[in-house]
Amino acid sequence: MRINLKATFNSGARGRWIVLAAMLAAGAWLARADDAAIRYEASHESMGTVFTVAVYGRDQAFLSEVVNEVFEEIDRLDEQMSNYKPESELSVINREAAQHEMIVEPRLFGLIQFSLRASQESGGAFDITVGPLMKRWGFFRGQGRLPSPAEISQVLNAVGYQHVYLVPERRGLRFDVSGVEIDLGGIAKGYAVDQAVEILRSNGIMGALVSSGTSSIYALGSPPGERGWKVTVRDPFEAGKAADVFRLQNFALSTSGNYEKSFKIGSKTYCHIMDPHTGWPVENMLSTVVVAPTGTESEALTKIFFVGGVEKSRPYLASHPNALAVFYQPGERPQTFKRTVLRSKSFQLPSDSLAEFEK
């Protein structure tokens, strides 16, 4: 059975399909690629992850050129937005913006602006200035450590999106205290996926999937003769086990999970997603999945919901359209989870968007 998301959704029911589609007229929403199409898939390492693009089309040489262009663009974004590379534009901003105002390249400015808005709207659950905190917890060196409360409160002085001031007329940016660092690691991969999709679309690609490894996936059109791209979400406890299956067309899906990076001290496991308010890793959430129209949005939302939890996310979804969220929380017995599905109140989407979810 399928349920249109616009209809009432009963999260307690079993074996349901949730269909998020503006129009269900037979086949109208399926962008069909030619049956004679070939499939071309390539991977590329960038931004500390592996991007994979699968495209359908007729001409292998053309497809490979387009995909190479995508990878080159992703590398350009990495050069610009990495804070591991001392010469990236972002690193320069982090070094200098406390001393004087910086003029920022338009796309980077746009992404920072989007991020700050997401911070405001989420009451700071999503925050691009959380980097120094992550460093204290040792996540950048790959070795977790437990910082002292004094250390945390000292670092928190320079953590907070309120410390970043923007002057949109001239794309100006300034920090109001020193020690502030912008880290786009929680959103840049989703943004890169969107830029990749832009390039694919502008080259007339009708069916493609772009994945940024662990974080975000965008499904452009559908594989030939199929209804959306099948995307399986892993079980929070076991990588090879499926928790849920989605079918997506012209939708992005992002995940955040404590399985990505975590460490154990004593019997306690700390995950890599920080609550910017407390300075402590988020507890009581295993993973969240968000389906939204762009990778930038879904990637930001997945963190917002992970940090905010189910209850705080309800009002956000009530006031923001076009998103579906699945929360996976620890179940009553060990190694089990309970699942909560929330969706936006309203959907304003093009007719060819499709997100089906089978649980």
Binding site: A33, D35, A36, A37, I38, R39, Y40, E41, A42, S43, H44, E45, T49, V50, T52, A54, Y56, Q60, S64, V67, L209, S211, G213, T214, I217, P223, P224, G225, E226, W229, K230, V231, T232, V233, R234, A239, G240, F246, L253, S254, T255, G257, Y259, E260, S287, V289
Partner: protein
């Protein structure tokens, strides 16, 4: 997605193991323990030139009972003595190799003299009815190639083997099998270097021996770095690409060790092959950081290989398939890193009968993993030098195929000779006619 990558990687390891298992390799031979007992009908051989390399060969020959050293020859008494001591079989000694060749009871000779002497000694040995092993580089002057070919054709029953011991290395054979099976894709580039940081001289007790001992420094006897070092690596490139080159450009000079030597202390050469493949070769005597290895590059992978060590690196390549493949993507699967960055060690191993049991396979994976982390290092079952000598004895005694036969030696020598011509003339040198190499 990650699952898929993992599978591919695992599949690859399986393939590499299977490749190692499936190669048709010459028998690795009897264990060294047998050496004490002598076989009833050993090959009776003599060695001409018992200097550095002659004694290396003799050392390995002490553990090969299929042959017995009955004669050695050298014009430098200390080396003659050293040779006799090394083999320990009380061989008869000669100063004039021609006298040695007159011996009717001598089946085979091994030639390890300075390069300028190789061709004449090969010709004399063949016409004296002897089976011949000659050190690389096979010959010194262009015209000697045809002379040796002619002599060899006139004595078809006599073995002629060249001392390119990489051909005898199980590790290299596994590497070449990987190439043949497509693990590297289309081979388009080989980069090789032999870098040292010393003057490449040998100590001379009395100045009158300078030219005899340091023959490598003088053009009258030596082809310099190309003959002594590139010869091994040009042969590897020829082997990997399956052809000899069609042209070479090169430069070099005596720019650092200006001590009266005549051969270059640095050479850089680019060889081009019939399919546009290139070998970029360099040798310097004033920095040893890179040491020596061969980096064989195809559009699907890279093999970095030298004696005792081989690493395989996969390229991140696109997959092309028909459109009816089923899509199933995984979200949130953790991707650590792409395979190509991690090199995979290749192993000079194969299972008995080509079949590997479960435990063997697991042990092999574990070893690979440990080796990739530098914790474990592996060894060939035999030193390639040993295998080379053993193979020579079996070729002589039982007619086993010769590992590095005439044409491989000729192709190699041409690479050296034309490379040197390119250095000397500053001109691009073209091969008279490129010849496809026969697989061995």
């Amino acid at each position: 997605m990650q699952k898929e990558q993992d599978v591919t990687r695992r599949e690859f390891l399986k393939t590499a193991a299977a490749v190692a298992a499936a190669t048709t390799l010459p028998s690795a031979g009897a264990p060294a323990i047998l050496s004490a007992q002598s076989l009833s009908n050993p090959v009776r051989y003599g060695v001409i030139g018992t200097g550095t390399e002659g004694c290396t060969l003799l050392r390995f020959l002490t553990t090969i009972p299929e042959g017995r050293c009955i004669a050695t020859c050298d014009i430098y008494p200390p080396n003659l003595k050293k040779g006799v001591e090394t083999i320990g079989t009380n061989p008869e000694t000669y100063e004039d190799y021609r006298k040695m060749l007159e011996r009717k009871d001598l089946d085979a000779v091994l030639i390890a003299t300075p390069l300028n002497l190789h061709a004449q000694m090969v010709l004399d040995a063949l016409s004296a009815g002897k089976q011949v092993f000659v050190e690389k580089t096979m010959y010194f002057k262009e015209e000697e190639g045809d002379q040796i070919r002619k002599a060899s054709a006139e004595h078809p029953k006599q073995v002629l083997q060249v001392g390119l011991q990489r051909r005898s290395s199980l590790l290299y054979q596994v590497g070449m099998e990987m190439i043949r099976k497509g693990a590297l894709g289309k081979i388009m580039f080989v980069r090789a270097q032999w870098h040292r940081n010393n003057n490449w001289r040998r100590p001379v007790p009395d100045p009158k021996y300078e030219r005899l001992i340091n023959w490598r420094m003088y053009k009258e006897y030596s082809g310099g770095l190309l003959a002594e070092l590139a010869s091994h690596q040009v042969d590897v490139a020829n082997w990997a690409i399956g052809s000899e080159p069609v042209s070479v450009v090169a430069t070099g000079g005596i720019d650092y060790w200006k001590d009266g030597r005549e051969t270059c202390d640095n050479v850089q050469a680019i060889y081009e092959y019939p399919g546009g493949q290139k070998l970029l070769w360099s040798s310097i005597l004033y920095n040893a950081h890179l040491e020596f290895d061969e980096q064989i590059m195809g559009d699907r992978g890279t093999l970095i290989i030298t004696l005792g060590k081989g690493m395989y690196y996969r390229e991140a390549v696109a997959k092309v398939s028909s459109s009816n493949s089923k899509e199933n993507w995984w979200a949130g699967a953790t991707v650590t890193s792409l395979a190509p960055q991690e090199g995979i060690p290749i192993f000079p191993e194969r299972g008995a009968n080509g079949e590997i049991g479960f435990v063997d396979r697991e042990v092999r994976y574990a070893k690979r993993w440990l080796a990739s982390m530098g914790i474990y290092s592996y060894e060939e079952p035999h030193d390639p030098w040993w295998t080379e000598m053993y193979n020579f004895m079996l070729s002589v005694r039982d007619g086993k195929p010769v590992i590095a036969p005439l044409e491989i030696g000729v192709a190699d020598a041409r690479g050296v000779i034309y490379g040197n011509r390119a250095v000397e003339t500053g001109q691009k040198v073209f091969w008279p006619k490129a010849q496809p190499l026969k697989e061995t």
